[in-house]
Symmetry: C2
Subunit: 340 residues, 2 copies
Amino acid sequence: MNTRFLDACRGLPVDRTPVWLMRQAGRYLPQYMKVREKCTFLQLCKTPELAAEVTIQPIDILGVDAAILFSDILTPVEPMGLKLDFVPGPVFENPVRSMADVAALRIPEMEEDVPYVLETIRILRRELAGRVPLIGFGGAPFTLACYMVEGKGSKDFAAIKKMMYCAPEVYAALMDKIADMLIAYLKAQITAGAQAIQVFDTWGGIPSPSDYEKYVLPYTTRVIAALGTEVPVIHFVKGAGTMLRSVRKAGGDVLGLDWHVNLGAARDELGPGIAVQGNLDPTVLFGTKPLIEAEVKRVLDENAGRPGHIFNLGHGILPTVPPENAIHMVECVHRLSQQS
Amino acid sequence: MNTRFLDACRGLPVDRTPVWLMRQAGRYLPQYMKVREKCTFLQLCKTPELAAEVTIQPIDILGVDAAILFSDILTPVEPMGLKLDFVPGPVFENPVRSMADVAALRIPEMEEDVPYVLETIRILRRELAGRVPLIGFGGAPFTLACYMVEGKGSKDFAAIKKMMYCAPEVYAALMDKIADMLIAYLKAQITAGAQAIQVFDTWGGIPSPSDYEKYVLPYTTRVIAALGTEVPVIHFVKGAGTMLRSVRKAGGDVLGLDWHVNLGAARDELGPGIAVQGNLDPTVLFGTKPLIEAEVKRVLDENAGRPGHIFNLGHGILPTVPPENAIHMVECVHRLSQQS
């Protein structure tokens, strides 16, 4: 049983730095693409046998120290009453714009509305059989709200910002409802067998630091607090480098760092009592093998042997990365961090 | 003669905080759209009378304290030998990928190859007649290289990163050539009458802080140093909040700040001897008038009366902002910063 990942989440010493990659089950792997030929992305998320298969692929191929449930942050949003499609980016036919829209949203019954997510977790726990721990996940309230209000990808986030600034009561009602949903959803994942939870706030770095404290932090804090201490919680906010101390207030055991911060400086600023995850620039995997090794070493050196470090990229692995470079990265992390 | 902007660039005291908006001549103004009906974006950049007309519009409409040349950062790249189109984002038909591609690039003769830029500046100096100073500008070497190598907008910057990491000699040759071009281009703008220069590094925050120091900073530093001290230089790097001290090493009189940093904390970190420009979240202009006033006050309060502050947005004004909100913002800056 490989407990490196869970030990590092708790700040305990480990024999080698544990490593996994955000989006490690994905398009850069030919084995994944072969499964994807049979079905759409959404069908893959909703078919437990296939979702479990692609979840396990990177464990075998890369030798990473944790598996992460294959799913999408928007999976539990669809049964709230929004029609989801991927074209290929996510699109909601009926975005949330008014108090009536918020009132019409329902909190899903997890075993009835997203049974495939929970079944995937149960299959994975059986099939992984303790090889590596299984991470469950969800989007943070703000990131989900961005998609639900914008209705699609956005460059300027005009719709959510207009709601936040001009209809703060609608915004608060929506965020509260999303937080309620997430608490039920993530607790159901833990009950089904998830051994850690990552909360992804992909868009949490879009607001200014003062708006983050006002409009984002309270809701994430509520979600993380409700999960208790049964399993470690990783909180990842992309673009949080200029407000690490705010983001830390949300709670959780591990703070995910993107590649815009120096990991050592971030640890100094955060102080003891919280682990960190990250933070290699994902584009480094476009580099040569010696360059990848040097960059892995740089990140490990920045951490300087402090316990409570999980190696990861600073964001998801990119679809055009050669798999051999990801394999090399994992090998370098293990080799260079080995305690003699 | 309104010298607030130039005085603040030099760190001198001013009667009110000077203010202008990045992209203040643009699509959010119906008066701009009316001019744009007659021609394409590129034709507008290349027609001095029209470019001067839209440059002056926000001076009359918003009451800002500086004019900025209407042009595009890619204007001087086209005569280097790349075919530019806007669809509507910029696209180069023949992106730079090899040492042969770099060798084929030429340094334009500014008066022959981009006469319209210099003529626009000359017209503007006559027509502005000292009402407000005129800012010229260029892209930073790294941002221009991104466009030239990617050939179009990119989400992962795979092509430039592959060149940087796997063909560093090609990357260095390209960056050197771009820096040479920029020095000639920006000096020609100063000779034609530009009273300040802003260097825009839109993509400078994409690399990690350590890669910024290695691959970006040396080239920007060379450009800024070559411009001398005749006119103030503003250096704006989007996403620089986690590496302000690195970015400052590039030189210049003013550091542009995006909205991800607390302006007061940034000034504390930078210390004396450099002015700052920014940094209201551009989406605040989607808010109500009282909210806009409160946010303007917050930014002014963060600066806490220190000399050397030019108020601006943290990035360009968004195309769907109501003009009356931009007018209100400028009015609030002047009223709330007035020295009694």
